[in-house]
Amino acid sequence: MSANAQTEVIKDLSMLKQKEMIARNYDAITSAPETGQKVASTFVPGNLNELINSFGMLNNLPEINAINNGMRKQSGAMIMDAERSGHSEDVCTYVKADIGMMSKGNIAPNGKPMPAPDLLLLSYTGCFTFMKWFELLRKEYNCETVMLQVPYTGDGVVTDNMRDFVVKQLKEEVIPTLERVSGNKFDIDRLRENLARSAKAEDDLVWVLDSAKKVRSPIDAYFGGVYYIGPIFTAFRGTQDAIEYYQLLRAEIEKRMEAGLGPITPEGDMGEEKYRLVVEGPPNWTSFREFWKMFYDEGAVVVSSTYTKVGGVYDQGFRHDPENPLESLADYCLGCYTNRNMPSRVDMIENYMNDFQADGLLINSIKSCNSFSAGQLMMMNEIEKRTGKPGAFIETDLVDPRYFSAANVKNRLESYFQMVDQKRQSSRQF
């Protein structure tokens, strides 16, 4: 971080707001032993934040903690700790960062220890590792555990049966467990209020993501995008804070559009937009800034990404619905990007390529993520075939700094950008 600290980072109001929200949430979690609030650990894809909150419980997300530790350059040592305790080099590095964090006292970014969770709520939406991760945590904490089995959409469609199955589990298993752990009765009206607030914030988020359809995009939908999805994907969906955050953000982006500005970067407004890309796969967190710089220095803007859909595909029209609270939670879980089959992922990317007038598709394949890296190369080939636009493939990792080779990634990216250039020139010439 020290190198980055030297260059002054430009912050907008929405950024300050989000920072303050996150800090407040960590404070609420770490002071739970004093306030008596109960804490549920759960994952981003398929998280039931509105429901958890309706019981007055807090939501702690282990993979967000891992990302946080990755960005603060803490994850490397944590992963090594986990490896010393017997976890293999190939295991998901979110898991190892979390396990290593526990062995280091489970200290939150505010310097205080995280309380042990009162509940492990696993909403299973396609990541097999999440399940094993919670098994490890259950052994560690020996607390209440509940698993929502969300059927994988292997045929690319959500059937009534699937929805009913999820709703049934919500009614018969998840809600009773939440009642038991929190000591509060289920209040459907409270849930409805939360869901109404979610939908409001979701509208503004979608507007922001769609703004990248403009040529000379005012946002970067990947590097900037991971900040924009922050509140909706984490502990704030269904809160007034989230509504306010997205109002602020939308106003800022509207202004950028009017002024004809490009995306904001850590070094200020981005220069000329030379390449418009769609990106598949999460970013690398340990060298996030360095990685981002490789794009904006070359004039590459990410206009759409699939990673910003892992916590919900609102741009495809889904909204949380207060009229059908449990059904809408079920639909939300079933539709998560992580729960979609390969052909739906390809279709989605193809649409992004066309709707956002992209020059190409870049896949950042994650070394330690077996569930989502499998098949990515074939997805890329398929997109190349369908759109005639070039694809590129790079490999990094989530939070293991050892798996980020800057020179190698830069080499491939530069080659790719030059390849796009060359293709453009030749299509003009001939």
Binding site: L377, N381, E384, P390, G391, F393, E395, Y403, S405, A407, N408, N411, R412, E414, S415, Q418, M419, Q422, K423, S426, F430
Partner: protein, 439 residues
């Protein structure tokens, strides 16, 4: 005249190609990359410029009376030999002066005179011995100054130190300190003088040539008077960011290799390049434009360095590996292309009693298997297929490649150019040419 230059800064060697405005290659130069990319690119460029002069000499001498048949080549071979000697002696003299200056070091108080006297003797002997390397028909193992001067300096310094009662260690220390300085210093500007002095020697020495010496001298002088203008330089390769060039002068090596292979073999659709630390599978269209590529990630498994490491493990020279593998009676299965694991696997197989030749064949197969996996990820092999990079010079690797390509893709024409090591630099030079001529 306009010269377009491509420089490919590889992890092991740095290559330069000079091209004229019509796209014809005039000269090529190569040097070791050391850890100093600035020097490496300067030296490679200089070498390519020297080679350009020879091409131009050749063109101008054609048709001159007395130089029919092999006459020109003989004359130019001799000219090059004498020219190299001129360069070498200049550098040797520089080394002498630098060693003398470095003997003033605080570590050897009051010994300067004695050291300098010993150095005078050493360098006198060294000059006499090493001149022989530039005699007619003598094959030098390398043209890198350090390779030529280093070993012999050790021998002569040891013998001289004994005779004169000087410390051998001191002579070695002084040399070690000076050689890097000297290597990194360009030769003086008087290239023309060096060429002309060399030519005088040739004309004096070769009585068999029935040419008009004045006429030859005039032709050479005329060529030397041509100003070789560095019209546009493009840098590529692993060290390209170290080049003191603006961004528009830097191209990715993927694009340069694709274009270079296209220039060598216009029907190329798939390129495999195995270099020191990366392996690239590149697909190009009928104009040499890259349409897809894949390369190894941060791990250099199965690249040129792997062979270097194996050679060290086996106590062999890098160039001995291929010929040894060609002696194999069967191919031992080697699972790992990881450089570190392969060392262990190699010792394992030796301990099991496998023949070294068979293990070598297995190691070469392992490299090509990995390359095949990278190629298939980039889209497979489409006829014609061009293999480039340092490893393309290794006959055992080439043999395995032929077998595996046939097994997986059937009959495909495989192109390997003897100058394939210059593919990236060639592509770079063409990019430079297009930047100006087709702008």
């Amino acid at each position: 005249m306009k010269c377009y230059i491509g420089i490919d800064l590889g992890s092991t060697t740095t290559k330069a190609v000079v091209m004229d405005e019509k796209g014809e290659v005039l000269g090529r130069g190569i040097t070791n990359s050391r850890s100093n990319y600035d020097t490496a690119s300067r030296v490679a460029k200089l070498e390519a410029m020297i080679s350009t002069r020879f091409t131009l000499f050749h063109r101008s001498l054609e048709g001159l009376a007395g130089l029919e048949g092999e006459g020109i080549d003989r004359l130019l071979d001799n000219l090059e030999r004498h020219f190299r000697l001129e360069l070498f002696l200049e550098q040797l003299n520089d080394l002498h002066q630098t060693c003398a200056a470095n003997s003033d070091d605080l570590r050897y108080p009051g010994q300067k005179e004695k050291i300098c006297a010993s150095l005078d003797v050493v360098f006198n002997r060294l000059g006499q011995t090493l001149q022989k390397l530039f005699g007619p028909g003598v094959k030098r193992k390398s043209d890198f100054f350090r390779d030529l001067a280093g070993t012999e300096y050790m021998n002569i310094a040891e013998e001289t130190a004994k005779e004169l009662g000087t410390s051998f260690d001191t002579l070695i220390n002084v040399y070690d300190k000076s050689i890097i300085e000297v290597e990194n210093r360009p030769p003086n500007d008087d290239m023309e003088g060096k060429f002309l002095r060399a030519l005088e020697q040739v004309l004096k020495e070769d009585a068999g040539l029935s040419v008009d010496a004045d006429e030859v001298m005039k032709v050479i002088r005329d060529v030397l008077a041509i100003d070789l203008e560095e019209t546009f330089v493009v840098g590529t390769g692993y060290g390209r960011v170290r080049l003191p060039f603006p961004k528009e002068h830097i191209r990715s090596e993927i694009l340069c290799h694709g274009l270079g292979a296209h220039l060598m073999y216009p029907k190329t659709r798939t390129v495999l390049d195995i270099g020191g630390q990366d392996t690239k599978g590149i697909q190009v269209d009928d104009k040499g434009i890259v349409v897809n590529f894949q390369m190894n990630d941060r791990c250099a498994a199965g690249c040129g360095r792997y062979l270097g490491y194996i050679a060290d493990e086996m106590n062999l020279g890098l160039h001995e590996l291929g010929p040894m593998a060609m002696q194999a009676t069967k191919t031992t299965r080697i699972n790992s292309t990881c450089t570190v694991f392969a060392g262990a696997e190699l010792r394992d197989r030796l301990a099991m009693g496998e023949k070294r030749e068979n293990i070598m064949a297995g190691l070469h197969r392992a490299i090509i298997l990995r390359a095949m996996s990278i190629i298939s990820r980039s889209g497979g092999i489409t006829d014609e297929f061009t293999f480039t990079g340092g490893v393309a010079k290794n006959e055992a690797a080439v043999k395995q490649l032929h077998e595996l390509v046939k097994e997986n893709y059937g009959d495909v024409k495989i192109n390997i150019d003897p100058d394939s090591i210059y593919t990236g630099a060639l592509g770079g030079a063409e990019f430079a040419r297009r930047a100006v001529e087709e702008a």
